[in-house]
Symmetry: C2
Subunit: 455 residues, 2 copies
């Protein structure tokens, strides 16, 4: 049994619905379908979710909500018309939205979550209706019926552990099941949406819950690329990538698959296959526990900005048992998590995401470091990007650091920090944020241009 998730662009209009249906029917293992809200049909189009947010904005501003309401309905209407679905489908959607607005008019948080979720929710109903019209035994399964129980934290739902057990029963249901992505239900019966990565998370949870043989994730690219395709001309297409590699890449700037979405399937070792709705015959990218060994030391290069480094100096620091613990405790007290802590003999840096330092946290942290650790110097270095070179093959290969550092030197990128842990699956370079793209390009050229010609 496969769980198949279709992204927003895969379900943007009636034509895409037909493609998706063909894909579903091509493989009888494709039993559970998780859908996103209708996405962009063309450059400059607005996603349904954004239309729904605009509608929520109007309602909370107590402005004229009719135009915004009609804009949302127009998206669904186009699909219903294109697919020649019965008119009552559309009436249902309209009543559903109106009811949501009335119920939550004075509760902005719930209103936003409810409206945002309805893009996926209604789209799942349309998908189920269209499959039925095509003669398939198919049913819409709401997340609460599916067992998708989440914490009651609007916009940031976390799955509750009992959900996985509850979802097992989905295996026994007949026909094709269509489940909306992006949200679950709290124990108090409220709709609560997931953080970024929304529908990918839903699909991953369902795939883990039913212990699927595969979690297929259909989007609009043939594969996951080794590097941000906006930065190089013909990016290398990854055929296989391990969870670990994907996680390092996702963490450091790859937007393909958020790490929240990886976690559920990693635990159950369900392979993810990223495929293209518009080109389903392409092999796609398999994300799995172990991949076939090859001779490529590096599989991907990612970068992310928005980091700062808090650098401190104290003579004989490393003789003070408890210094590092005390330092990290100061960050912990402010609920700030750190990325890396590179160190010299008498200095140590704590690299963190800058957005964590709001509301006076920066001042309090610096002040405590000065007064409690009695450092000689503490400074904050901003505009830092972390560039990550990732590949399970790095551990087996001598010279990766050399090639990477040489590529950066030749591009005149100053390396501010380097960190390579014992796993040897990744190597981190801290560089000036303004040089991050150049760093990625030069590293890509060094590791991939030659690899490609060899194959």
């Amino acid at each position: 049994m496969k769980v198949v998730k279709f992204g927003g662009s895969s379900l943007a209009d009636g034509g895409q619905f037909k493609k998706v249906t063909d894909i579903i029917l091509m493989d009888p293992e494709r039993k559970i379908i998780v859908v996103s809200a209708p996405g962009k049909r063309y450059d400059g189009d607005t996603k349904t979710t954004d239309l729904l947010i605009q509608l929520a904005d109007r309602v909370t501003e107590q402005g004229d909500e009719q135009d915004a309401f009609r804009a949302v309905m127009a998206r669904f209407e186009t699909i219903v018309t294109e697919l020649k679905l019965p008119a009552e489908v559309l009436t249902d959607i309209e009543e559903h939205l109106a009811r949501l607005i009335e119920t939550y008019r004075d509760d902005a948080e719930r209103l936003y979550d409810g409206l945002k979720a309805s893009g996926e929710n209604q789209n799942a109903k349309l998908m189920a209706a269209y499959l039925q019209q095509r003669g398939e035994k198919a049913s819409y399964v709401s997340p609460d019926e599916a067992g998708m129980y989440v914490t009651d934290d609007p916009g940031n739902a976390q799955i509750l552990p009992e959900s996985y057990e509850a979802m097992k029963t989905l295996r026994d249901r007949e026909g094709i099941l269509v489940i909306p992505g992006f949200f679950g239900y709290s124990k108090t019966g409220h709709i609560v949406t997931f953080p970024r990565g929304g529908s990918d998370i839903s699909g991953s949870i369902v795939a883990a819950g039913v212990e699927a043989s595969e979690y297929e994730n259909f989007t609009d690219v043939d594969s996951v690329y080794s590097v941000n395709p906006a930065l190089v001309e013909t990016p290398y297409e990854m055929k296989e990538v391990t969870y670990r590699e994907m996680r390092e890449l996702a963490y450091s700037g790859f937007s393909v698959f958020h790490d929240e979405a990886l976690l559920p399937v990693v635990k159950k070792r369900v392979p993810i296959v990223v495929k293209n709705t518009n080109h389903p015959q392409a092999e796609g990218t398999r994300i799995m526990a172990e991949r076939t060994p090859d001779d490529m030391p590096v599989l991907g290069i990612a970068s992310d900005k928005g980091f700062v480094s808090i650098n401190l100096t104290k003579y004989l620091m490393n003789r003070e048992v408890g210094f590092g613990r005390h330092l990290l405790e100061i960050f912990e007290a402010e609920e700030v998590s750190f990325e890396h802590t590179p160190s010299g003999i008498d200095n140590m840096s704590v690299i963190i995401r800058e957005h964590q330092l709001e509301n006076g946290k920066e001042e309090r942290i610096i002040q405590r470091i000065q007064s409690e650790l009695k450092v000689e110097d503490v400074q904050i270095e901003r505009n830092l990007a972390l560039v990550m070179v990732v590949g399970e093959g790095m551990a087996r290969t001598v010279g990766v650091a050399s090639k990477a550092a040489t590529a950066l030197a030749e591009a005149a990128v100053n390396i501010k920090m380097i960190n390579q842990g014992s796993s040897e699956t990744s190597m981190m370079f801290g560089v000036d944020a303004a040089k991050a793209d150049l760093a990625v390009q030069s590293l890509y050229y060094a590791f991939f241009e030659k690899q490609k010609t060899v194959q």
Copy 2:
């Protein structure tokens, strides 16, 4: 006023005493002399301190101590004879040693500390007597008279803060003062020796206490080399090196100057000048707060063995606020200090000196990591060497990492870990201990052979 310390080889026999005296008299600023015990006169000779330890061994074993006693006396007798010092000097030494043995016969710790210290102690008396014979106003000053108060921790004395204030009065004393290195007195009146670096520590403390204009450290090399001279043919001689550079090098394997010996002068910014007793006209190496900028990014390359890395893996580790703090707390509870903590996304390593893991500490640490941090995997990697590339110029130079990593790759040395903090004064490479020398040699060749031809 200069404080001048002479090492063991500089005072190994009467001939060396004469050289040392000439050096002292060459510069009227050389007012305070700190001396080591007589060292080796030739390859295969035994240092006086080792003879004293053998004597202590005999006494504690309750064996025949006469031969060992005579061997110690023979060393002093040779010097006394060569310098034509009065015979009572020798009688004094003999009585002193005999009294020490009688006093501490049943207290092994005190016996060892007392006998070990007497090498320096008696040598200082000889030096003072010889200076007097040469017509100088000179006096022996015992460490308690000098104000060298230390903790009562045999073999591991730590200076007490009030010592610095007490030593200030030495400035007002007339003539040349000769102080034995290597030990101080506890508040209970016992002789207590310093840890490794012994007499260098004493000299540094005195130099800081009297706020000397320079702390001259006479040994048997023309300068401090940029690399272990046993590893390369014509090692680069450092003219100037900052405290910070010296400390990084000393910490990572340079035996010239231990970091315990650096600390006192660093605080008072007294420059250290390392010079050669056998070639005093050589300029030597100045260790100071700031050095003259030059175009050499790297000033020294050091390595040290005996490290292990405790490597742990846990999915989404970096999301857990408090994970790093908790990990370091486990090491702290066992009083184990760490060197570096390189990390990936889901893994973290703690590099420590292996000798710290004795007495079940290793098992307890691993066990607590497993049970309290619920990691997926924890492993201990042994036989690790840390190779340190050091230079204040690195921060100003693009391409240092590239050159270093390329040198290691070309020598087929696999880099297990890399760490470069924000100070950019040093870069650490973790390599297999068996490859440490090769790593140092290849790095030296890369950074120095070309630098040398340019000059």
